[in-house]
């Protein structure tokens, strides 16, 4: 029991650090990286539950595999979008991407 709680707590810590990074960092690359960190924290949860959950099962690991796959796809598309944005706006600062508000 205690191990599961420790893993979950660690995942929560990492998740919150990632969230803080997403919310405060200006650099879009760092924001993307922080999102990856949050996804990693979630994966940690999944795998911890796969071992220490009520019914240990490989489903958790397979889910985390899918999550990693999707995260990779997201990172690829994110970087592509970032490069296109950089070309048009000549900046990677998220706070200058404020077209949405105009």
């Amino acid at each position: 029991m205690s191990m599961l709680a420790s893993y979950l707590t660690l995942a929560a810590v990492l998740f919150c650090i990632g969230l803080y990074g997403v919310l405060t960092k200006r650099n879009a690359v760092v924001v993307l990286l922080c999102i990856e960190l949050m996804l990693g924290a979630v994966n940690l949860n999944l795998i911890a539950f796969a071992k220490y959950g009520v019914v240990p099962s490989l489903a958790g690991q397979i889910f985390s595999l899918f999550a990693i796959t999707v995260a990779a796809a997201e990172a690829a598309v994110g970087i592509a979008v970032l490069i296109v944005l950089y070309r048009s706006r000549a900046t990677v600062n998220v706070d200058e991407y404020d077209r949405l508000g105009r």
Binding site: L19, V94, R99, L100
Partner: protein
């Protein structure tokens, strides 16, 4: 006998309507010819009216009506149509004749006016509305015409809208008559509610109230009759709603002649005559009509004594004569009322047009500035004199016969009504004598140079006077106590010779002559050399009371206008503070919210993200927190 022209009676209002449309559309390009279009249209109406009338005279023609279903609402069908009876045929002739003459007259009177074609457009619209009102076969159509003539009256009183008095008078006329119109509307609605089959046409009204007594209870009948009469009071300038009519003289004089003397103001009398079956079914209503009429006649006749504006004298005279008509209606003789309407239309239009000539020559309406015009304006003076005699009831002019018919009816009804009528007749002759003497006799009292240059009006302005003067002299013979042809024709019943009314006749003639003599004594012979003004008189308070028209305007000012203005001010404060405040508050709140939102929605994704996180945390606390 089959009627030919009556079938086409609906064309009569359409000629002026066409003229109105053409004049309104081609206002700019028709500076010169516009007037002729209106005159031709009114001539066409006159010709048709005369054909209809002559066709009906002596043939005992059936009433002709035609129309179509206008609106079908559920099981109720409102029809629109026209009906030609002897009464409407007579009214058609009166309206179209006076309208034609006034159109002709205006050619001279309004010659130099900038907006002449607009004036003719309004006149045509008025003729159309009035003829429509007369021809309407049901109350709803009549009401439409009724309101339309009200609008035309408003437009024409305020025709010279650069004068503040004209604007005020137009507003006053519109608002005061509105009180009466509301009564008429309520009466129509009541009839719609209580009439079997919701019928509003005059034939059904006649059937229900004349032969099927008891279908509608007496109290409802009285209410309907009184409300109808309220409409007539507003339109025909009866006490207490007469105050608009003297002010309406701010309009051009031909308008005063047509609308505020001969036709529109007679619409109230026409309405009562048209719905006379309802009034006959209620004794209370008839009494009200009679006493209001008598009181108005007396009140207005005395008020006319001390007016210094030539048109105001005539206006009060109109009010007084309309009171006569109401008196006749209330006394049970609607034929006498219509007869008086018929003769009055001619001599009052004549008097107004004559006054118009005087005003045209002197550019003033103040009697104290006039005098001595008789030598310079012979035609006007002679025709005006004929009008004065006719109005004063000097035998054998038209006014004598019709006034006599009214007085005979009043005599049969109640001695008090008769007495009021006789006194009014005396006062009528008195103020008319004063008017005539001040304007045409003696020496000029005003601007001498202007008076010296005063000359007779052009033929186009005197020709209508001659026609009207001839009618004023001769029109009375259609109904005399010795042969009441008009009454028989109108009512379709033979009226016996009224030999017993000879004393009434004598009294009426005596009253008229006495009034004229008094007038000559006071203003002609006995007047000091300096003119009638400025000398001390007995009972100065009475003179003052009359001069100020019994302070009725002031009384209304304090009774209605001031409280309403106060209410208006209070409501405006309420509107500004509460309604507007609520509006401003709502607007401000939304604006503040919008400003806050636009601050929040800066396009900063991270701000949005933060907001989402905050919301999520708050939600979690709110939902999960409840479990602990």
């Amino acid at each position: 006998m089959r009627t030919v022209f009556s079938q086409y009676a609906w064309l009569a209002p359409l000629f002026p309507l066409a003229a109105f449309v053409v004049l309104t559309e081609l206002n700019r390009s028709l500076k010169r010819t516009g007037a002729f279009i209106a005159i031709v249209a009114s001539l066409a109406s006159l010709a048709l009216s005369l054909l209809i009338a002559f066709e009906r005279i002596g043939t005992g023609a059936e009433d002709y009506s035609g129309g179509f279903a206008w609106l079908t609402i559920g099981s109720v069908t409102l029809s629109a149509g026209f009906e030609v009876t002897n009464l409407t045929a007579l009214m058609l002739v009166i309206v179209s004749l006076v309208a034609f003459l006034v159109n002709l007259y205006s050619l001279g009177y309004m010659r130099d006016d900038e907006r002449k074609s607009v004036f003719y457009a309004y006149l045509s619209l008025f003729a159309c509305s009035m003829l429509g009102l007369v021809l309407a076969d049901n109350l709803l159509l009549l009401y439409i015409g009724w309101e339309l003539v009200g609008v035309c009256s408003f437009l024409l009183i305020g025709f010279w809208f650069h004068k503040p008095e004209a604007r005020a008078a137009a507003k006053k006329a519109f608002i005061v008559t509105r009180v009466g119109d509301l009564g008429l509307l309520i009466a129509i609605l009541l009839l719609f509610r209580y009439m079997p089959g919701h019928a509003l046409d005059f034939v059904s009204l006649h059937n229900v109230f004349d032969s099927q007594a008891g279908v509608i209870s007496t109290s409802i009948t009285t209410a309907i009759a009184l409300l109808l009469f309220l409409g007539a009071v507003g339109k025909s300038g009866q006490f207490p709603l007469h105050v608009w009519l003297p002010d309406a003289m701010e309009g051009p004089t031909p308008v005063s002649a047509l609308i505020h003397a001969a036709t529109m103001v007679a619409a109230g009398v026409f309405l009562v005559a048209r719905t006379y079956d309802i009034f006959e079914a209620s004794a209370v209503a008839l009494d009200t009509v009679a006493y209001i009429g008598a009181f108005t006649a007396l009140l207005a006749a005395t008020a006319a004594l001390k007016q210094n504006d030539i048109k105001r004298v005539l206006a009060y005279s109109t009010v007084s004569q309309l009171g006569y008509m109401m008196l006749a209606l209330g006394s049970g003789s609607w034929t006498a009322a219509v007869f008086h309407l018929f003769t009055h239309a001619f001599f009052k239009a004549l008097l107004f047009l004559g006054a118009g000539n005087v005003i045209h020559a002197l550019h003033t309406q103040d009697l104290r500035q006039m005098g001595g015009l008789g030598r310079r304006m012979k035609t006007t003076a002679w025709t005006f004199g004929a009008g004065v005699l006719a109005l004063s009831g000097v035998p054998p002019l038209a006014g004598f016969w019709s006034k006599d018919a009214v007085l005979a009816a009043a005599f049969e009804r109640h001695p008090l009504l008769f007495a009021a009528g006789i006194v009014t007749a005396c006062f009528t002759a008195l103020y008319m004598a004063r008017l005539f003497i001040l304007a045409f006799w003696g020496r000029p009292r005003g601007d001498a140079a202007l008076a010296a240059r005063a000359k007779e009006a052009p033929a186009v302005m005197t020709a209508p006077l001659l026609v009207l003067a001839a009618l004023s002299v001769a029109a009375g013979f259609v109904q005399t106590p010795f042969g009441s042809w008009l009454g028989a024709w109108l009512s379709g019943e033979a009226i016996p010779e009224q030999a017993e009314s000879v004393p009434v006749m004598a009294a009426s003639a005596a009253a008229g002559l006495l009034g004229l003599y008094l007038g000559w004594l006071l203003y002609g012979k006995g007047a000091p050399k300096g003119g009638g003004a400025g000398q001390t008189r007995p009972w100065p308070w009475l003179v003052r009371l009359i001069e100020r028209e019994y302070y009725l305007n002031e009384a209304y000012g304090y009774l209605f206008v001031k409280p309403l203005q106060g209410l208006g001010r209070a409501l405006r404060l309420f509107d500004g503070a509460v309604v507007g405040g609520a509006g401003r508050l709502a607007a401000g709140a939304v604006q503040a919210l919008g400003r806050l939102n636009s601050r929040l929605l800066s396009g900063q994704l991270q701000t949005y993200g933060l907001a989402a996180v905050i919301a999520a945390v708050v939600l979690m606390l709110a939902i999960a927190g409840r479990r602990f």
